[in-house]
Symmetry: C2
């Protein structure tokens, strides 16, 4: 096992750079933190490139990095990589595979969602609902932002999450007779009026402005969730959960 | 309009103390921040005691505090009251009315939910779903924590949110033949097997441990939401939304 103790080691500098979107984009990799995420990455196996562990961490007795290179680092280096208040001292570098969407039939389209907690929770919810793929349009937070990764709790390793032009995707799916449902507060149908289906795409949008008007104009139908009380709206991740669990056959 | 410019003014000291749970409990009041929350409090009218505005804030032309006393303060005082990164310079002190639950027929029971964002989002979701009252058991974050207030987006002024012993509440409702549904991953029924109803209580629990075992043992039935993909679970606020919108007639 390699051991690094200098914070000036070029590997350490490269890992730290992965805390920025710029370097993640350039290198095509991202950094994950914490036992749960590292274990999900090891389970999946295809994206994980290397594991980094603080010398202060007691690894569980049967912990198995399964052939993935592991580097031991000082507590100081470990803490410098962390973006949490209570670092667990374990990290991994993973590849941003541009997953093949292949035979996907159910989709979540995300239009300009900016809160990383909401965004990650939506990915986790799509995973739980058995959605085949998530397509992220322009104006959303970075898919590999550390808060997005934490909120998604490993779902990044469970289903393809790709960047794409939502207009092109809507055209493509409609060409295949797959319905695309927007979400809107006005000029929309109550979601329970739509039939459950084996194939569909749901478009959810920005926390403040909702799905953009030009996208709403090109969907098969637009849906709303009734508000029975006095709140103005639902949180976007909660709305995503209600709709995906309703639409899914 | 009163004007305060000394940070040592006793009123300022008292407002700042409201950032602690201890003082909120002692005084039976709480502090809200931002235009949206202050407007929701003014609209409701019963709980709001006074408004605090920074001298740097341009109030909207027809802004109407409707008889509520307004105090103007320096930007420095205003910023010292803020718990956000971009203070809007407007605050209000409100009364924690112990609302009468009266004729409530639908309930959300919260058992030991600790993340303030989740907790506030659950209150907002209960409001949207038209639930009549929220009862908060032991071990949850403070109802009037500033992050809870922000995530709930004003729902604190829309429906009663009370502290209570969940066991006593469960006994009381079952005595009135109102079903109480727990949520659990094991030994539970799929939620879609239960009939929609005009009156029910849903119990949701801690992010890590779920609803406590002794509560699950005393419910009418326990429900689960199927996981169709590879995620281990749903976020508790998302699960609350799916269940409340399903159960609500």
């Amino acid at each position: 096992m390699k051991y690094i103790e200098s914070v000036n080691n070029p590997k350490v500098k490269q890992w730290k750079k992965l805390l920025t979107k710029k370097e993640r984009d350039k290198s095509g990799t991202f950094l994950i933190e914490g036992f749960h995420l590292v274990e999900e990455a090891l389970k999946q196996g295809e994206q994980i490139l290397e594991v980094i562990v603080s010398e202060k961490v007691d690894l569980p007795p049967r912990w198995d990095p399964a052939g993935t290179p592991v580097t031991l680092v000082t507590e100081e280096i470990s803490n410098s990589l962390s973006e949490t208040e209570a670092p667990q001292g374990i990290y991994a570098v993973c590849r941003q595979t541009v997953s093949e969407v292949g035979e996907a039939k159910t989709f979540l389209f995300i239009d300009a969602v900016q809160d990383p907690g909401n965004f990650g929770t939506m990915i986790r919810t799509a995973d739980a609902a058995g959605i085949d793929a998530v397509v992220v349009g322009r104006g959303s937070v970075d898919i590999f932002n550390s808060k997005v990764l934490r909120s998604a709790q490993g779902s990044h390793f469970h289903l393809p999450i790709i960047k794409g032009d939502l207009h092109e995707w809507i055209n493509k799916l409609q060409g295949e007779n797959i319905p695309v449902y927007g979400t809107a507060l006005e000029g929309a149908s109550e979601y329970t009026k739509v039939s459950k289906s084996d194939s569909f795409a749901l478009v959810v949008g920005n926390e403040g402005n909702g799905v953009s008007q030009d996208i709403l104009a090109s969907t098969t139908a637009n849906l709303y969730i009734p508000i029975y009380g006095k709140s103005e709206s639902l949180n976007v991740a909660v709305a995503t959960g209600i709709l995906l669990y309703y639409l899914k056959k």
